[in-house]
Amino acid sequence: MMARYQLSATVTARPQVTGDIVRLALLAPAVSQAATPGQFVMVRSAVALDPLLRRPFSVCRVNGDGTLEILVKVIGQGTRGLAALKVGDQVDLLGPLGHGFVMPDQGRACLVGGGIGAAPLLFLAQKLGERLPASDIQVLLGARTGAEAMALALPFRDLGLPVQLATDDGTAGHHGLVGELLAALTSGAFPTQVYACGPHPMLAAVARISTDRGWPCQVSTEAIMACGLGACLGCAVPRNGGRGYLHVCKQGPVFEAGELQW
C-alpha cells in the first residue's frame, strides 16, 4: 500500500471560488507528493468534540510549493468550520487515501464535472496534461449558475484546456444538464475514456450515456464516511448485480461505472 500520512497542515491560501465554495490550499509536502488524481484526504479543523468526524475531500490540485488544494462547499457544520479557516490556521490532515483514476497514455479523455465535482477532475487534468495533448482533453462542466460555472472552469482554462459549460439557469453555456453535452458530442470528438464526478443523478446519467456508446467510464463517488481507512465500513455503495457492497474509501472513491449499481 502507498504511504499515508497524518499530519498538521497550515492553510496557505483560501480564495473564495463562489458564494459558498472556498478553495483551501494546505501545506503538506508529503501528502502532496504522494497523492494521485482521484485520491482524497480527510480533514478536521476543530479541537473541540463537535463536530467530531473528519470530512473527506478529493485532492483538487497539487502545487510545486508542497501545497495541495481542496474545494470546500459549505453544506453543514463541518464544512462551515473549514470554510471559515484563515491563512495560517492549522488543520489535521489524513491522506492520501483511496483508489484514484486510472490514466491512459493515449486516446481522448472527456472529463465531466457537476458543481463541486470539478475538484478531482482538475488534478486529473493536471496529470493528463503531462501525457496527452491539450486538444485530446475535453472538459464538460455543469453548475447552477453561469458565475459558478465560470469560476469552476477557470483553472481548467488556465491549463489551456477547452471547456464547455452547462448551467441550470442558462446564464452560461448550454441551458440544461452537463450529461446532455456528453450525449451531444459528435463523432470527431468521441472520447476513448470518460471521467466523471458530481451529484449521483449526474453520475448515473453519464454512466448510462457512456455505457450506451461503449465508452469506458470512471466515476469518482462520495459517501458519508467516518474513518477513510476501511475500518468503519460506513461508506458502502451497492455493487452492480446485487452482490453486496463496495466501500468508497478503499475500493473507491473512483470506480469503473460498471462496478456500481445505478
Partner: protein, 310 residues
C-alpha cells in the same frame, strides 16, 4: 521527561488469564483487522486488538446510509458486515499473528449454536488470545439485541461459548437494558472470564427537511464522546456487581478518559470511535497514561483500578 521515566512505569494489567502490556485495546468494528491502521499504530503496541465482529458465514451488511454524525458522536448501522470466519482466518488473522499482536476475536451469531460453532473454529486456530462475545449489537433483527437484553439468553450463549472453546471469554454487554448489574452477574455465573461494556446505545436521527430517517436502517448505535457519562456509570455499576474483570468502553478519546474508566473499576479500556477521528488515538492514550502515572507518581496503572474516591 516522560520518555525517560516511562521505562519504569508499569502499564501491564491482567485479565481473563492474559497479561496485557497495557490496558488500551482497540474496540471491535473501529480498527478493522489492524492492518487498516498499521501506518499509524503498530498493532503489537496495544494491550489488544479486538477485531471487527466475525460470523460463521459472510454478511453483506445494511444498505446505505449507514452512518450519521450527531452531537459529539455518531450513529452507525453497519449491519455486521464481515467476510465470515473462513475469510477471517485465511485473510485477516495472519497479519496480526505475524505482527505479534494480542488478538481478541469478536464473535456474533443468530443463535446459540452459531456462537458455539464459531468458538470451536477459532479455538483451533493459532494466534488468538481471547474471544469477545457480541451479544449486544443492535443492528440485526435475529439474535444480537435479543441475547443482549435477556439475562437468561446471555447466560446461555456464554455457557455455549465456554463449553466449545478453551479460550478466555469476554462477554460484551449492551447498555440498552434496565439493570446492567443483573446482566453482568448472569454472564459471570455462566462462566464469563471478563465483561466489556458498553456497546452502542440505540438511537435515531431524522432529517427535518426530507422527513426521512438519516439511516437506511432507521435506528442505529450511538457512540463517541456523547455516551461517555452513560458508559462510566454502567462500568461502575457492573464492576461493583461482579468479581471478574471489567473492560470499559464508551467515548474514550484521551488518557484522562481512560483513567476515569479505570477509577470506575475497569481493568482495561477499549478505544472505539476515537480511532476514526484520530487514527493514532490508541497510541496517544498509552503515552498519556504513562505521563499520568509519572505526574501522579504512581508505580503501576493497576493502582488506579477501582480507586474512585467516594
Amino acid at each position: 521527561m516522560v520518555s525517560m521515566v516511562s521505562h519504569d512505569l508499569d502499564l501491564r494489567v491482567s485479565l481473563a488469564g492474559l497479561t496485557l502490556k497495557n490496558p488500551v485495546m482497540a474496540a471491535s468494528g473501529t480498527f478493522g483487522y489492524g492492518k487498516e491502521f498499521a501506518d499509524f499504530v503498530p498493532p503489537e503496541a496495544l494491550g489488544a486488538v479486538v477485531v471487527k465482529g466475525i460470523s460463521l458465514a459472510a454478511r453483506p451488511g445494511n444498505p446505505p446510509p449507514r452512518i450519521v454524525e450527531t452531537a459529539c458522536g455518531m450513529l452507525n448501522a453497519i449491519g455486521l458486515e464481515n467476510e465470515g470466519v473462513d475469510g477471517f482466518l485465511s485473510r485477516k488473522l495472519p497479519f496480526l499473528r505475524e505482527r505479534g499482536a494480542t488478538v481478541v476475536v469478536n464473535i456474533l451469531g443468530d443463535c446459540v449454536e452459531d456462537y458455539a460453532a464459531l468458538a470451536a473454529r477459532l479455538a483451533a486456530a493459532a494466534g488468538i488470545a481471547a474471544l469477545e462475545v457480541n451479544i449486544s449489537c443492535p443492528n440485526v433483527r435475529h439474535g444480537g439485541v435479543a441475547f443482549g437484553t435477556d439475562p437468561t439468553m446471555a447466560a446461555e450463549v456464554t455457557r455455549a461459548v465456554k463449553a466449545a472453546s478453551s479460550l478466555p471469554v469476554i462477554v460484551k454487554l449492551s447498555p440498552n437494558v434496565t439493570d446492567i448489574a443483573a446482566m453482568a452477574r448472569a454472564v459471570e455465573a455462566a462462566g464469563a472470564d471478563a465483561i466489556s461494556l458498553i456497546n452502542t446505545l440505540l438511537g435515531m436521527a431524522i432529517d427535518a427537511n426530507t422527513r426521512q430517517p438519516r439511516l437506511a436502517n432507521v435506528v442505529g448505535g450511538l457512540s463517541g464522546p456523547a455516551i461517555k457519562p452513560v458508559a462510566l456509570r454502567m462500568v461502575w455499576q457492573a464492576a461493583r456487581a461482579v468479581a471478574i474483570p471489567v473492560i470499559g468502553i464508551g467515548g474514550i478519546a484521551t488518557a484522562a478518559d481512560a483513567v476515569e474508566f479505570l477509577l470506575a473499576g475497569a481493568t482495561a479500556v477499549q478505544v472505539g470511535t476515537a480511532n476514526f477521528v484520530n487514527p493514532s488515538a490508541t497510541l496517544d492514550i498509552i503515552t498519556g497514561l504513562s505521563a499520568y502515572l509519572a505526574t501522579h507518581q504512581i508505580a503501576t496503572v493497576r493502582e488506579l483500578i477501582g480507586a474512585l474516591q467516594l
